[in-house]
Point group: C2
Chain length 211, copies 2
């Protein structure tokens, strides 16, 4: 949790919270292109203070992204107790796409930052664990095909939201259509052999190298 105020002085802790709140709001409103100056102004702090808390703009964005991923993981963990595993999995995926549909940035994030930043990568791992648990239940219930993993689910969240991006402003809920289509592809009825196996944990770890 980034909002923990470790052993910080009172003013530093306060500024950090102001910064994170301002950054989250500005990123959601204007996407990755917001200037640090704008975020600092909204937080009511100096530009330089931003770089005292986060060495780089990317790291600030990564911190916020990490928080959001962990929030989604918590949602997924709660859904493990739901009655119908297939419905629960779909609800989890819906929450995941909704998260991305709120902001602008989405895929630029997934592309460049989640590879590099260790905290984000750890958060993705926690998320994938929850997704795998949900998927295992759905598989056992016959709601989902055998060859789909939790990592597949996480990666498909970005896919569903991406499909709707070009029309996002005009048709607000369009991503639900593509999530529905993609989810139908996860059902056992239409399952055909896939040409490439699911990514392994080793491959996910290997992706840590910077671009």
């Amino acid at each position: 949790m980034v909002r923990e105020t470790g052993g910080l002085r009172a003013d530093a802790a306060r500024n950090r919270r102001l910064l994170l709140d301002a950054a989250e709001a500005e990123l959601a409103e204007h996407g990755l292109d917001v200037s640090i100056a704008r975020i600092a102004a909204r937080a009511g702090i100096g530009k330089g203070t931003v770089f005292r808390h986060f060495a780089t703009k990317d790291q600030l964005v990564a911190a916020i992204f990490t928080d959001q991923l962990d929030g989604l993981a918590a949602t997924g963990a709660a859904l493990l107790e739901a009655a119908e595993p297939g419905v629960a999995l779909l609800e989890f995926m819906t929450a995941g796409v909704e998260l991305q549909a709120g902001g602008q940035s989405v895929c630029q994030l997934a592309a460049s930052i989640s590879r590099t930043d260790p905290a984000v990568r750890a958060a993705v791992g926690r998320l994938a664990d929850v997704a795998e648990a949900l998927t295992a239940r759905a598989r056992a219930a016959g709601a989902v095909r055998e060859d789909v993993t939790g990592h597949d689910i996480v990666l498909l969240l970005a896919a569903a939201s991406q499909a709707a991006v070009p029309l996002g402003d005009v048709v607000p809920g369009l991503w639900r259509r593509y999530l529905g289509l993609i989810f139908d592809g996860l059902r056992p009825e239409a399952a055909h052999p896939l040409p490439v196996p699911a990514p392994t944990n080793a491959q996910l770890t290997a992706a840590a190298q910077p671009a």
Copy 2:
């Protein structure tokens, strides 16, 4: 076709071609973040000359994107004569994702530019027409569910490539897995009613407003 040299002076026509080739290569290698200076240097022309041919960096990128879309449309048109409509549609989608997998930028493009730039929007329209023709054949052959349109197909191309982005370097052909999963969702066997109808032409036209 952007590489047409209209009524340009000889040196201008030559520079334009050098510029487009250099830009395409640099964009594929380094993504949307390449500097104009770098592109100009590769083309062997001055920075200012870039802006004589394209008013803005976005317009240069849009020109290249337009070309690539039209190339894909040509591939799709050729596939209209293929024997099996379902296989043809999948081949078309494969070519579409391959196009995006080659470069880096992908989704940033789809998000910000294709909305705004009229030439890109026109190219997307031509592409959607071909996709719709391919889809109609596949529908009639029973290879694809009734409620999927050509525009769905085009939007799903970005989805499939997006899913593989975080692991693109590590597992080169991973997008084939997600294209396969998504294509299984298009089959009639697993079709469930979708919560949102396909985007209409009116909505696609309305999306022309800048962000």
